[in-house]
Symmetry: C2
Subunit: 455 residues, 2 copies
């Protein structure tokens, strides 16, 4: 009955047939990562109620136009972070005892910066004695890359849209820095300079020159080889050039111009603050399956979804794979870390890889992989971002707004660009790469979303 030769079309694990010639491999995975119950819940939720809620949620996110209006001490502006002994960290909430090395190191450095202890040993003792209140940045309208530690005297970027605000720490540059868990004198001295010079000078420049439109800055950078997460050279250069005339008019402005000239990652934190303000616009949109936050604390990955408000769905997080600095490898890497995945939550970073073919030199892969990553993220997002156009894809908008249901339906997980910290406190960055969100948080989310409908 069969004329001609037999050929194989394989659906599922490529390993089954990888040695056979002429096999057509279909990129199909079982829905809901093979969890039949969750697959049924996802199908049940895939209705007009959800679609309408998601349209509202996405429109709310896309309507946000964050403006950088100031750079102020965190204690003066970040809600709940006054003169008391409180420190914020990246990712979902976590107890000190469970924290990873880099976050513990960054907390020690922040205690030293604040003068709550005089030595690293005393700082650790104070932390372990419960002398410092610890909480997640995300609970305070704030985000921070890697360890994400924020202390009251640190200056923060203030982005605003109407009455709403979001905050992010200032980027310290590469090398030995607090966000990768280093806390020696060089690190704390730099933080003092950022507190005493960088913050006030930038704030003065913004008062003089007026706010910076973050959406417009990021959009332009996406046409200039940035993806808004691991590569921020264009946004930093545009921002520095834009602010330079007003910075130059401030006392010690030259020092700040020198710092901006040397730190290619400075604009990352601004892109993060803008993404936080945008995605938070959808928090609490009833019945929406839109993801509003992805964040990692170095132990767990945390997911928030519009319809479930401020609840975190968490799962253990792995280490990123990518390119390591000489002398380091995967065995040295801390599990993935930082609030910076808020950029992917909005649709830039890993989702906008097509904008940044040169990033493959930094995170691995080829320029074609970069295009393919962005195309693949289209399968799990609600629509293109209207402002973030990608020239290499014919000016299509970046895939924006991760839908929990689409993730379960396709089995495609969000791709996150990231830095890689050494697992021990004090060492710092050892590489950069790409990581996928864990599937389990999406399974938890669909159960919770369905539970809310059932009520």
């Amino acid at each position: 009955m069969i004329a001609g030769g037999v050929r194989v079309l394989n659906v599922g694990l490529p390993a089954v047939v990888e040695a056979a010639p002429d096999v057509v491999q279909l990129d199909w995975r079982p829905p809901a990562f093979g969890d039949v119950e969750c697959a049924r819940l996802a199908v049940a939720l895939d209705d007009d109620v959800t679609h309408a809620a998601n349209a509202r949620a996405l429109a709310a996110v896309h309507a946000v136009r964050p403006q950088l209006v100031g750079v102020r001490p965190a204690r003066d502006v970040v809600p709940g972070l006054g003169d008391g002994r409180t420190l914020l960290h990246a990712g979902p909430p976590i107890d000190l005892a469970d924290m990873c090395g880099p976050v513990r190191g960054a907390l020690v450095g922040a205690v030293l910066l604040e003068g709550w202890a005089g030595t690293p040993a005393d700082a650790l003792h104070l932390l372990e004695a419960g002398g410092v209140t610890l909480d997640a940045c995300h609970h305070h309208d704030a985000v921070g890359p890697m360890a994400g530690v924020l202390s009251p005297s640190m200056p923060v970027l203030v982005v605003q849209d109407g009455p709403r605000r979001a905050y992010a720490s200032l980027n310290e540059g590469l090398g030995r820095v607090l966000r990768f868990g280093a806390f020696d004198a060089e690190v704390v001295d730099r933080l003092r300079w950022m507190r005493d010079v960088l913050g006030p000078v930038l704030d003065g420049a913004l008062r003089l020159g007026g706010p910076v439109d973050v959406t417009s800055l990021v959009a332009q950078a996406l046409t200039m080889g940035d993806e808004g997460h691991n590569r921020s050279t264009a946004a930093t250069s545009l921002l520095a050039r834009r602010l330079a005339p007003e910075v130059a008019q401030q006392d010690r402005g030259v020092e700040v111009l020198r710092f901006l000239a040397a730190n290619d990652h400075f604009a990352l934190n601004l892109s993060m603050a803008g993404a936080k303000l945008a995605t938070d616009a959808a928090v609490g949109v009833e019945h929406s399956t839109l993801v509003t936050a992805m964040a990692r604390n170095g132990v767990e990955f945390g997911l928030r979804v519009a319809g479930t408000g401020e609840r975190w769905f968490t799962a253990p997080v792995g280490a990123a794979d990518g390119l390591f600095f000489p002398g380091y490898g995967l065995e040295d890497a801390n599990p993935d870390l930082g609030d910076s995945a808020i950029t992917e939550t909005l649709g830039i970073g890993g989702f906008a890889m097509a904008a940044a073919p040169a990033i493959t030199l930094f995170v691995g892969g080829t320029p074609d992989d970069a295009l393919e990553t962005t195309r693949s993220m289209r399968r799990i997002t609600l629509g293109p971002h209207p402002a973030f156009r990608l020239p290499a894809l014919g000016f299509a908008g970046a895939p924006s707004g991760i839908d929990v249901l689409k993730v379960l339906d396709t089995g495609v997980l969000p791709v996150i660009n990231t830095g890689i910290a050494h697992r021990e406190a004090g060492v710092g960055q050892i590489g950069a790469g790409v990581v996928e969100a864990p599937s389990d948080v999406f399974l938890q989310a669909v159960r919770a979303l369905h539970g809310m409908r059932a009520r």
Copy 2:
């Protein structure tokens, strides 16, 4: 004898078969643009002598690493441009009587700037009476965009590699500017400010901070959406950010930072000066068919080839096609103008379109056209530029070093990105687009090259 249907494979003019369905069109053109004599000369020259000469010429060009070492008054540094009444212009040499509107307008503005006349009418009278010596920028190691007019008091970028130097005017920005033929008070006032503030401040900054590596700047900008000719936003931003700390320390540095923040094209002239220094390294390489300059004076296109030294091959030049500003069209356009095609001569600009998909918003076409243009320029160039890597083409080097023989063999003409000036003096820029070099200059060149061999 023929089984199945007949299908058409067309070689040559597509118009012959464009209405027919299912035609395969071969992109073949007769060699030497149909000039049989030149085709024979080209074949005769295509030998080991030429290949060896071209390898030497290309290596010499690629070995040049221009450094921006200063910004000095033209009279102090440009050979042959002292305190006498001499003005330089873009393109091959041309008599005043034959010049186009924009160049005449720019000459009038330069006479006013130098104070050789008090009114535009007196300036024109002085020029027509022969009171000013006119010559091509290229005859003085210099290049200028569009009208390219350079006068003794204008500051020039000084780029250097070993003992060799090249020079370019400073970019005035967009709008009503001298290089597009405008010469009113606003234009001349800006030129005075550039002479009195911009030039000295930039020179002071370079003395303080040291030279800028032009190759490295351009190479980085090519990974950031620039192509080094019509789009210079990245190079300008990188340069401004790099120079800002030292500029801020100069008297009136704030004005300069403001100017740099507002002028996205500032780095174009630096890219041109660097390209001039590089391509001039091959001038006079015996038997080489490598193009060392392409330049337009608004009436004629001029070509120089390594093996024929400083001789110009010229032909009438057309107007660029592209995108016009509202209210203007092709009928308003001046024929193509400027020394800026020195960027394409080196292998950037139109040749590096693949680096700048967003440029299609400015010059027309689609991002896919941009990739195709670069691929097509590979057919007429001697090899990839080792420093100028294009991420969108898998980090292949930009096609560099136009070979007269390859142009004749393929019938593919060099593509040049360009601004479009209004044909009347004083109006200014009306658009931007793409233009092809005229075929006739390549026919002249092959005749001359063959003639030199025959001697």
